[in-house]
Every structure is written in structure tokens, then in C-alpha cells.
């Protein structure tokens, strides 16, 4: 489904990704772990199409097509979804208006009929309950005044509405207490299916207790330096990034 080959990317002239190689197949859940500054978020932003990041070389194929040639909105309509580490607050644009515009943009792209306001409201209310968000949130500005946990659940809610082929979760666990982490994880687990892939980017291991990955990769200095199965995450938790000869800028324990 997703094939990343020797991907190099920089931001403001500074190279952050220095040759990433990664293959993701439908149905798989991958976790990318790494210390702060290793390039985790850059990889997510590049895949979603943030123009602030410049791809300097390499190739990314998504379902056989060149992903990097496509506009951000086109990538989204074809099934790429990025759950932001820091979701943006947009006062004045209601969640409902935003979500319906997004869902209909995708439906239109796929040649499906657009949903009217009443149909969409019904769907959105159901999905908001699934991530334990009060449906009143729909009327408020996008992420406006939301707590950190509410913002993250709103991201998962959007993924459930948009039903992406590849969901990229950027530090979805950060800022969540245990209960909110459980709700968010349940939402992500509800997304798991044979034709969908999930790429989780995380500093800590704790999310992986709730969403069990098939593959774990360690990213450091802009390269994947080690790949393995679930046991790799557990090993990291036990030994810390130092075990792999990586300096974690945070010096924080890997277990969260």
C-alpha cells in the first residue's frame, strides 16, 4: 500500500529525513518510535503533504501511484489521514461545517453522492459518541477551547468519519490521561481492518499496550536504524533508547 524509498526531506534548509525506507501493507499496524528530534513528525507531515517540508530526494508510492506529486487535499481524498500531534484551533468555523465539507469533498472525489446536512448530522452524532465526545462539540469552532484530550479524540473521530486507507497517528497519546488514552485507542482499534493500514508515531511505548502493532521501527537521526516486531517496543521500554546508542534529548524514560 505504502512504499517509501530512500526519502530525504528538509525544513528551512536543514535536512531532517536522511533516507527512510519503509513498506506498509494493507491490514498492518506499524509503529515508529524514536526520541525527540529524530524526524518522526517530519515523516508524518511529509506524507500528508505539508508544504513547509521539502522533499529533496526519494520516492513514495501509495497504491502504486507517486504520492509526492499529489496535492495535500488529493492525498486526503484518496485515503491518507494524519491525526495531528497539535490539532489546530479554528474559531469561527464550526466542527460540523468543517467535517461535512471534508466528508463531501472525499465522496465527490470518489463519485459518491454528497451527504445533506441532516444525514451528516446523524452520522456525526453517532461517531462522536464512539469517541466519547458530547455531540455539542459539533456546533463549536474547530478544536476551539477543547482540552488536549478532546482535541485528540476529535482527530480520531475525523478518522472514523473519513475512513482512510492509511491513518497516520502523530503522537496521539501525548497529553492523554489513562481514561482518554483508552477511549482514543478503542477508536483506533475500531479503524483496524484488512484493507486499512495504520502508522503510529510515538515517543513512548504506552500507546502500544492499547494498540498492538505488527511492526515496530526505531527512527533516529533521520533514518530507521532498527525494525522488529512488538517485542522491540518492549525491549526499548526496558532498556531505553540508549541501548541502541541513541541519545534521547529528553533523557526521559521510554516507558510512559
Amino acid at each position: 500500500m505504502l512504499s517509501i524509498k530512500n526519502l530525504h526531506a528538509s525544513v528551512e534548509g536543514k535536512e531532517i529525513l536522511k533516507g527512510i525506507n519503509l513498506e506498509i501493507n494493507p491490514g498492518e499496524v506499524h509503529a515508529i518510535m524514536g526520541p525527540n528530534g529524530s524526524g518522526k513528525s517530519t515523516l508524518s507531515q511529509v506524507l500528508a503533504g505539508n508544504e513547509a517540508y521539502e522533499v529533496t530526494s526519494g520516492e513514495v508510492l501509495f497504491n502504486g501511484e507517486n504520492l509526492l506529486d499529489k496535492e495535500t487535499e488529493e492525498r486526503a481524498r484518496e485515503g491518507i489521514f494524519l491525526a495531528f500531534q497539535y490539532p489546530v484551533e479554528i474559531p469561527g468555523v464550526s466542527n460540523l461545517q468543517f467535517l461535512r465539507t471534508a466528508v463531501n469533498a472525499k465522496r465527490k472525489h470518489l463519485g459518491e453522492p454528497e451527504m445533506n446536512a441532516a444525514e451528516f448530522m446523524k452520522l456525526a452524532r453517532e461517531v462522536s459518541k464512539q469517541v466519547d465526545l458530547n455531540p455539542d462539540f459539533l456546533k463549536r469552532g474547530v478544536n476551539e477551547g477543547f482540552s488536549g484530550g478532546e482535541k485528540k479524540r476529535n482527530e480520531i473521530m475525523q478518522a472514523l468519519l473519513l475512513q482512510p486507507k492509511l491513518a497516520i497517528l502523530d503522537e496521539t497519546d501525548s497529553g492523554l490521561d489513562i481514561d482518554a488514552l483508552k477511549v482514543a485507542s478503542d477508536g483506533v482499534n475500531a479503524l483496524r481492518s484488512a484493507d486499512r493500514a495504520i502508522l503510529m508515531v510515538t515517543h513512548y511505548q504506552r500507546l502500544l499496550n492499547h494498540i498492538v502493532p505488527d511492526h515496530v521501527h526505531v527512527l533516529a537521526g533521520g533514518r530507521i536504524i532498527k525494525s522488529g516486531g512488538r517485542e522491540l517496543a518492549l525491549e526499548l521500554e526496558e532498556k531505553g533508547y540508549g541501548w541502541l546508542g541513541i541519545k534521547d534529548e529528553d533523557d526521559a524514560p521510554v516507558a510512559g
Binding site: 500528508a48 503533504g49 505539508n50 508544504e51 513547509a52 496535492e71 495535500t72 487535499e73 492525498r75 486526503a76 481524498r77 489521514f81 494524519l82 495531528f84 490539532p87 489546530v88 479554528i90 474559531p91 469561527g92 468555523v93 461545517q97 468543517f98 467535517l99 465539507t101 471534508a102 469533498a105 472525499k106 472525489h109 469552532g141 474547530v142 475525523q158 473519513l162
Partner: protein
């Protein structure tokens, strides 16, 4: 030094003589006084950014013809008065039949009422700050005099449709005077529209006096064509515990100017002034507001938003003057501005002049662009760039649009805004 230029005699020669004598006399007197008035230049402080857009060429001096056909019948619900090139078209109007509410064209006033009105005209406007309002007083050919008796409440909004037919070039001078008696209530909508494509000038003046406890809501929509220069002024004087709510929506043109002056003259008077301006292409829009806190215990709340695209230019100058006796004044002014292109320009100047020592007075002005992170967030969900820009730009002014208390004006505004978005954010 080159002598400052003045209005040509053609500009000081009024048309139509079918007004009561006291108003004809006033007009002549104002014309004489104007003969020596220097025209604003870029050195005139309150015309610094606009003087070069004001083009008072000779072809504009003559009054636009007021006979001839009226534009297409307007589908305005409820009460309305239609001005055609500055003169009221009685057969196109629908007036309320309510006791205590008198709405009359100037041309139909008897001499004693006309004499009373002549005494009051221009009393709400500072002649120095709104020089060109005096041109209207020298040129108006008709006007609307609205009087509300004490406790009279108009049961629905009154629309004043001021249409300019610019099939040939010339100028029009619509005039309005509202006298709201004690505890009376009125919602008034002024809509300025145009047809035809010849150069034209609209010089509109509206005045409001609010007696104790009166409540007036004024909605002003300025949306004439690209060939029309508009220089308008609104003057307001408020007595105790009266309330004036103003909602101004302006779409740019070759020259657009609105002066809004409010005097809070007795304690407990309060006003809210909202304004939204959008400009694109080579357009220009200049809002100059003045709030005079003359008496103690008055509140003013002012919120203006400008959006400029293309090579356009928007100006906001907001002055709050708190007089020495105006203790316990509460004044808030916010002006936020959005630039949608690198070629657009917005100039904003809050002016606070405070002579009382026990007041709350706050102001804030910002100029910014659409937030790139917000755009990325929206498009990363599949929303098109056009739509993302539209959503974010609308979000900038939506609160003010929603506060307009007349649904049909909100709709008209939204339609015009959609056209603005359509032409400003072309699909890549």
C-alpha cells in the same frame, strides 16, 4: 505653493427646485459656505489615504436625472422607501400605517416643518471631520424625514433602498433624517446599489437623533458598482439611556468612504458600532468613525473588520474622544484586518483622546494573513484550498455578519461575500 483647489461652481449648483423654501434656503446657504472649502489632499490628515481616490471631475458635477424610469421593481419585503438618483419615488414605496410614526419625503413637508428640519440638518455632524457631508447639504434634491413619537415602536425594519442609475454620468445626494422620540424603537436598513456603467458619485448623508431611552438599529449596506464613487456620512446624537446599534457592511469600489460620528450626550447612552469591509482588485474603502463620550456613564463598543485582496486598499480610522466630564465611560474598540495578498494594503489608526480620569478604555488593532497551519489542517482532510480559504476568511467576519439583526440583509451580504470569495480564491 499651489493654492488648494476648491469645488467647481458646477458642483455647487443644485438641481431640482421642488423643495419647500426653508430647505432651498439652507441649500443655497451651504453652497455659498462651501465655495471656499479646500478639497481634501493627501496632506489633509483624515483624507491622507483617500484623497487620491476621490475624483471630482466635472462630468460628475451635474445631478443624475431623476425623471425617467425607475429600476426594476425590488422584491423587498415589508416597509421600504426607494430613492432613485437621490429623489424618492413615492409609487415604489411601502410605508407603515402606524400611529406615532411619520415618514415623509422632504419635498412633501409644509413650510413650518421644513423650517424646523432646516434648523436641525447637519447638527449631528462635525463639519471639519466630515467635510463632504456639507456638499450633500448644498445639493440634496429630496430626502426622507422620519419622526417617531414617544413610545412609538416600528413593528418591522424599514428599508431605504438608494439606487443610483448611472446610465449617464453625474451625482446623487440622498438624505435622511431620523428623529426618534423618547423610548421609541426603530430598525432601519440603508442599502446602496447601482445600475449603469458611467462614472457616478453618490454623496449620502444620514442623521439620527435619539431622545431619552430611544433604541435605533441602523444597518448600512454599501454595494454599488465599480463605476460609482461613494462618499457618505452618518451622524448620531444620543440622549440619556438611548441605544444606537450600527451594522455597516461595505464592499469596495473605486472610492468608498463612510464617516460615522456618534455623540453620547447624556448619561446612560450607549452605542455598538460593527463594521465589515471587503475589498479586492484595485478597490478602496475608508471608514472613519468618531465616538464622542460627552456625558458620564456611557458605553461604546466598536468592532470593525477589514479584508483586503488583490491590490486593494482598506482604511480604518477610529477615534474615541472622552470629554473631561465623561467619568465612568466604558469604551472598547477592536479593529482586526486580514490581508489576502501581498499587494493589498490596510491602514488602521485607533485614536484615543481621554480627558477624564475614571474611565475604562481599551483598543486593539491587528493585521494578519490567513494562518498556514490552519489551511494545512483543513486541506489535509480533503477540503479544497479554495474552500479552506473561504472557510477561514468567512470565520474572520462571521460573528459580525451573524449579528446583523435583519435576515434578508444577512442573506444579501452572504451572497455578495460568496462572489467575493469566488473571484478572490480562484481554484488552482
Amino acid at each position: 505653493m499651489k493654492p488648494a483647489s476648491t469645488l467647481s461652481s458646477a458642483f455647487l449648483t443644485p438641481g431640482g427646485q421642488s423643495l419647500p423654501q426653508p430647505l432651498l434656503d439652507l441649500r443655497a446657504q451651504r453652497g455659498t459656505a462651501l465655495a471656499d472649502m479646500p478639497l481634501p489632499t493627501r496632506k489633509t490628515e483624515n483624507w491622507k489615504y483617500s484623497s487620491r481616490h476621490l475624483k471630482l471631475s466635472e462630468e460628475l458635477a451635474s445631478a443624475l436625472p431623476t425623471s425617467g424610469k425607475c429600476g426594476p421593481a425590488l422584491a423587498v419585503p415589508g416597509y421600504h422607501v426607494v430613492f432613485h438618483n437621490g429623489v424618492i419615488v413615492p409609487e415604489a414605496c411601502e410605508l407603515p400605517d402606524q400611529s406615532g410614526i411619520t415618514i415623509q419625503p422632504f419635498a412633501e413637508l409644509d413650510d413650518s416643518l421644513a423650517a424646523e428640519l432646516a434648523e436641525r440638518l447637519d447638527n449631528t455632524l462635525d463639519a471639519e471631520a466630515a467635510q463632504l457631508a456639507r456638499l450633500n447639504s448644498a445639493r440634496f434634491e429630496d430626502g426622507l424625514y422620519i419622526r417617531l413619537a414617544p413610545d412609538a415602536v416600528l413593528d418591522q425594519p424599514l428599508f431605504i433602498i438608494s439606487q443610483t442609475d448611472a446610465s449617464c454620468s453625474g451625482s446623487a445626494y440622498p438624505r435622511l433624517y431620523v428623529d426618534a422620540g423618547r423610548h421609541s424603537q426603530l430598525t432601519l436598513v440603508e442599502e446602496y446599489i447601482s445600475s449603469g456603467d458611467q462614472p457616478a458619485l453618490v454623496n449620502a448623508v444620514s442623521e439620527f437623533t435619539l431622545a431619552e431611552g430611544a433604541q435605533v438599529t441602523s444597518v448600512r449596506l454599501s454595494a454599488e458598482g465599480e463605476n460609482v464613487q461613494h462618499v457618505g456620512a452618518t451622524g448620531v446624537r444620543q440622549q440619556a439611556h438611548s441605544r444606537f446599534d450600527s451594522h455597516c457592511v461595505g464592499f469596495g469600489g473605486p472610492m468608498r468612504r463612510h464617516d460615522l460620528q456618534v455623540r453620547l450626550e447624556q448619561s446612560g447612552a450607549n452605542c455598538r458600532l460593527n463594521g465589515v469591509v471587503v475589498t479586492q482588485g484595485q478597490q478602496h474603502y475608508d471608514n472613519h468613525t468618531v465616538i464622542e463620550h460627552v456625558a458620564p456613564h456611557c458605553d461604546s463598543e466598536e468592532t470593525y473588520r477589514n479584508i483586503a485582496a488583490g491590490q486593494s486598499h482598506a482604511v480604518f480610522n477610529g477615534r474615541i474622544h472622552i470629554h473631561q466630564d465623561a467619568q465612568k465611560s466604558n469604551a472598547n474598540m477592536s479593529n482586526k484586518n486580514l490581508l489576502l495578498s501581498t499587494g493589498a494594503e490596510i491602514d488602521t489608526k485607533p485614536e484615543l483622546e481621554i480627558y477624564a480620569d475614571d474611565v475604562k478604555c481599551a483598543h486593539g488593532a491587528t493585521i494578519g494573513q490567513l494562518d498556514k497551519q490552519s489551511i494545512f489542517y483543513l486541506v489535509s482532510r480533503g477540503v479544497s484550498r479554495h474552500e479552506a480559504n473561504t472557510l477561514l476568511t468567512m470565520a474572520f467576519i462571521n460573528e459580525l455578519v451573524q449579528q446583523i439583526p435583519v435576515e434578508s440583509v444577512r442573506e444579501t451580504t452572504q451572497i455578495r461575500l460568496n462572489q467575493f470569495f469566488e473571484t478572490t480564491f480562484e481554484e488552482a
